[in-house]
Symmetry: C2
Subunit: 312 residues, 2 copies
Amino acid sequence: MSSAHGPARLRGVLAPVVTPFDADRAPDAVRLARHCRWLVDQEVGLAVFGTNSEANSMSVAEKIALLDALVDAGLPPARMMPGTGCCAFTDSVELTRHAMRLGCAGVLMLPPFYYKGVSDEGLFRSYAEVIERVGDERLRIYLYHIPPVSQVPIGLSLIERLLDSYPGTIAGIKDSSGDWNNTRAMLERFQPRGFDVFAGSEIFLLATLRGGGAGCITATGNVNPGPIAKLAASWKGSDADARQADLDRVRAAFQNFPMIPALKRAIAQYSRDPGWATVRPPLVELTDAQAALLKQALDAAGHSMPGLNRAP
Amino acid sequence: MSSAHGPARLRGVLAPVVTPFDADRAPDAVRLARHCRWLVDQEVGLAVFGTNSEANSMSVAEKIALLDALVDAGLPPARMMPGTGCCAFTDSVELTRHAMRLGCAGVLMLPPFYYKGVSDEGLFRSYAEVIERVGDERLRIYLYHIPPVSQVPIGLSLIERLLDSYPGTIAGIKDSSGDWNNTRAMLERFQPRGFDVFAGSEIFLLATLRGGGAGCITATGNVNPGPIAKLAASWKGSDADARQADLDRVRAAFQNFPMIPALKRAIAQYSRDPGWATVRPPLVELTDAQAALLKQALDAAGHSMPGLNRAP
């Protein structure tokens, strides 16, 4: 799995792992490790500290403690792509260095997202500052393009400049634009240079793999890991389109609910562990009425979470 | 200046103090203290860690160290309104507690700004979480409404709910919407309840004061403090409209340049201290050509910065 230059490249399916909080809304490392184990056992990698992880609702110290706890619990850093991009490069450097020390296979890096309308020159300098300060040849950065949330897009010309300046280190992207034309353009222009394109939703998984991409990093990887990973592993099979349609049906069951509270409530239901539903503000938990509708929609889509209803 | 419940309420003009960085882009507490002293001597209060301070480009630890350094340098906490609103409530609580320990008169609090389209319920919980955890009757929170940057607005109904739940603690707002109709609505609805409305630019200073508001918190307070503070102190005078027009002319000189790099370059020029121009990414310093145009525009507006060109 690893070479002289660190772990093998990440491929296939990763989940931006949702973060459980206890009754005081503190991160719950025990619940998180259990969920990560369940995901890894189904061949889903760990993009902890993504948007769906409420990563930016946690302090740097809270994230470092969680990452340490996961590694201490025996979860494999070679399957980890923690989010380390913060508004302050000092924070991004600290988190990225820590991920490198633990041997994480890569990091998923948001651009600084407070200022809007910033220049490509400024975004280039943001990434360069972190890369130069971390100063580690094993570093593999996956850019995180999620304009609906960050409001700070990572355009094609910025990617090109970063790839030219830091080949190898700039390892790929998660494209959460929801715009297939953008994903396709990146597949055509950059995947041939070894820049691994991950779709931001399993809706585009089959299309991404057929386009030469690396896989997907998807919210619903948290609740439907097995079937999504199975498509990634067997996408050349004759039943791939049918499998993609099955995935799309489960995904659609979430569409009328705020994603993060819905994912957590679904896990709470299946694991019989109501505390899983807790979110940090500014997010708000689903109401019981919403949760009942969600369950109905998931049942209708034939969704299940085998192995999750173990005692906590 | 102070009562049993802490320092007197902040009024008049405050500057979101620009943060100097050294050659390694580390915060420079010595330069910052000198600039703050220059502002306070001209009756301008210290809204350190605002948008123009590049606050979100610094870690919590960097901000705490700077605040300690300012107080150690003898600058008055009674004139301070540090920005303490972060995406993670744990960070907001830590910064706010520290500001309270130092005796700051108030804090300026952004809503969590990563997630977009969040509910008022979620934003209410965000502020409530910080207020309850800080648990200090002396706490005075100024809400920070800056939708062009944060993309997370603080609407009138949210303000009403916060005021109803935490009267006294919810002390006012900085309105950086740039929308006078919004400022006027807040002046009419909430200023009579002791909720102090600060305009986000001196362009609205006279109108805000005539509407019963508290003053303004303005970027150009960093470079034109004396004249802005003078209008706030003598706004009932017959020359108030002429003074406002003078302020507007200086403000307009900045309009063709990115504000933060332009403020810092102007300070660098007047103080003969080129290092002042340094910004953190994703911002980018002005080019020399831009700086020359800025100087021309400021000269034409009759702008000066008396007392700033002391040896560093």
